[in-house]
């Protein structure tokens, strides 16, 4: 036998089961009599559920009413959303003074704009943008939210934040319009492109210093009214606690994980002990410890407010969980990567920062975001120790006289809110995974 087929076989189009909706339906839903019955039955169950929810939540629901009684007067079988709508401000902002709510919204918008360049492909200097958010935003936002007199330190940090924000925005616009970083653009427009590095640097420092001076003068001309933390609440408080938790759990976790894998025995034992203690205790216990036991160990007259204590507890607890996630990611990196890094002369921090962490973090994105989602949801536990976060606010509705006993609707509303936030996070993590693994299929 020699040649089996002398001519090429032409390609044919795929069978109907692979190419059309009808084919798909037949293959996946109605492939046998039993499967057809199952399909019809399941569809019916889904119909019943969706229909029930629709009638209760929309068709028979009351959206406008003054009291719960009025809702009942309207319909007995529908939801009473009027109560939730009436309390919407409380759910979002707690007992924050109504005329000051703009500060919270403004802080949120500021953060969104500050972070936006991270998602704009053409904007330059993303690492600096990220760093500036972490270094400056907390102070600016902290002052916006709590207000009062600015100490010298706060004045400096707020001025820094204003300058950083302005540079960041200018940089994003420069990136979008001219595809250049703001530094290049400024140097170019001053005709200093070919000047020595040192001249350029001095010029930039001078410009930033002038900007800082202007920002300092401007910010000292206004203050915002003091709002005590006990008035913070609702979704705002939940986001503050979990936001700080998320922003610090990852760096904390990385440090703890590196400590646990360190060759230095003291560091290793301390990190391991710290991680294991916090991981073996439920968050609620840690919260109670932080708010009731912690002050006992502090010197007389040293009073930390409860919110700060809670935030410290949340951060430590989650850093320990994150440490284990990071450690798992580090362990998945083959030994050859360390050796490759060593042979080009990179030391410990160079190896970790440039070679190991970037790869490990990429593998860990699903787990990290999973932890973040868990953190956000766990934050609702603070309602147990008397902070009026979103869950606290939702449950207060049923104690408000006009809406006495209204439990179901607020909690469902809260569930929907949480779902939206968590689902968005999860979707974003998926997007990040795909984006970061581009061209990197090993």
């Amino acid at each position: 036998m020699a040649i089996v087929k002398a001519t090429k076989t032409p390609a044919r189009s795929a069978p109907i089961s692979e190419s059309s909706i009808l084919g798909w339906l037949q293959k996946n839903l109605f492939s046998s009599a039993f499967n057809s019955v199952l399909t019809v039955f399941t569809t019916y169950i889904i119909y019943l559920t969706v229909n029930g929810v629709y009638i209760w939540g929309f068709a028979d629901a009351t959206f406008v009413a003054e009291t719960r009684r009025e809702c009942y007067g309207n319909s007995l079988t529908g939801a009473c959303w009027a109560g939730v709508i009436d309390w919407l401000d409380n759910i979002f902002y707690g007992r924050y003074p109504r005329e000051e709510i703009w500060r919270i919204n403004f802080g949120g918008i500021l953060l969104a704009f500050w972070m936006a360049p991270l998602w704009i492909a053409r904007a330059k200097g993303k690492v600096l943008v990220g760093a500036s958010v972490v270094v400056f935003y907390p102070f600016l936002a902290g002052y916006l939210f709590s207000g009062g007199d600015k100490g010298l330190f706060m004045q400096v940090m707020i001025s820094g934040a204003i300058v950083a924000f302005a540079i960041n925005m200018a940089n994003a616009i420069a990136g979008l319009l001219k595809q250049q970083s703001i530094v290049r653009l400024v140097i170019g427009s001053l005709g200093q492109t070919n000047a020595a590095d040192k001249t350029q640097r001095n010029l930039l420092i001078a410009l930033v210093a002038v900007g800082f001076g202007a920002a300092y003068l401007w910010q000292s001309s206004w203050t915002v009214e003091f709002v005590t933390w006990t008035k913070w609440g609702g979704l705002f408080l939940t986001l503050v606690i979990s936001g700080i938790g998320i922003a610090s759990a990852l760096p904390g976790g990385i440090i703890l994980a590196l400590g646990r894998r360190s060759k230095l025995p003291v560091l290793r034992v301390l990190s391991t002990g710290f991680i294991e203690v916090f991981r073996s205790v439920p968050l609620i216990t840690v919260l109670f410890m932080a708010t009731t036991m912690f002050p006992l160990f502090m010197p007389e007259g040293f009073v930390l407010n409860k919110l700060v204590q809670v935030i410290i507890a949340v951060v430590l607890f989650n850093a320990c969980y994150m440490a284990e996630t990071v450690r798992a990611g580090l362990q998945a990196i083959p030994k050859g990567q360390f050796e490759g890094a060593h042979t080009i002369g990179l030391g410990y921090w160079g190896t970790m920062g440039l070679i190991i962490m970037p790869q490990a973090l990429k593998h860990m994105i699903p787990n990290i975001v999973g932890s973040f989602i868990g953190l956000l949801k766990d934050t609702t536990l603070v309602s147990i120790i008397g902070l009026f976060d979103i869950l606290g606010m939702l449950r207060s509705i049923s104690k408000d006289v006009p809406w006495l006993g209204l439990h179901k609707e607020p909690l469902i509303f809260g569930a929907i809110l949480f779902f939206i936030i968590c689902f968005a996070m999860s979707k974003y993590s998926r997007h990040l995974e795909v984006k970061l693994s581009a061209g990197n299929n090993h």
Binding site: G345, G347, G350, Q359, G439
Partner: protein, 258 residues
Amino acid sequence: MSNAQIQGQLASAISSEVMIEVNKMNKWYGSFHVLKDIDLTVHKGERIVVCGPSGSGKSTLIRCINALEEHQEGDIIVDGIKLGKNLKNLDHIRTEVGMVFQNFNLFPHLTILENLTLGPVWVRKMAKADAIETAMMYLERVKIPEQADKYPGQMSGGQQQRVAIARSLCMSPKIMLFDEPTSALDPEMIKEVLDTMVDLAETGMTMIVVTHEMGFAKTIADEVIFMDEGDIVERNKPEEFFGNPEHERTQKFLSQIL
């Protein structure tokens, strides 16, 4: 095969300057004695091929020279610097000694160009533009400049290994160590990597190559070392080594692989 043919086609440029000196070096993995009283001197420009059965300690030997493994007894002196606990010395040695691995060990999250410029920029503190220029020069030399913006995962094994060689060269090392550089490659890719190594040998680089490619050994080696069970059993010129092996263990090994 006549001696003239076996003798390397390459003119060797061995100087009297000693690059690597190993004295009575011993290494254990736990209680297992991997390297036993190793003595080895390598001169500048010398090209040495190390062969031997698996588990004989060849890889461990060159990993010790690069300080990737610690040795417990004896001295290793590389370019006048004694390897020991001094971490600063270690980092210095590693920048002077390039190493190419069986599994390439390229950084998968970086492009080829970034793989090549990372060391020069972060360790040698070279300006980025200069580092890119050097990297492109070496990519030309290993004949894959057009792949500069790809990721390692998008290349064939042979190409990855050539990039790994270029990455080491970008640090302008004085010594290059190769740990079975062709063992993980498909047969048709072995040649392109060996050709690159022959080119490198022609530049007068000091090289120690652990390999089973005996043809390659005949072409470039100034001397061939045979290791077995942690001992250097025989060290000889390639023509002698292959034509007239002295030790019985060498004869047995050669009869199995040739």
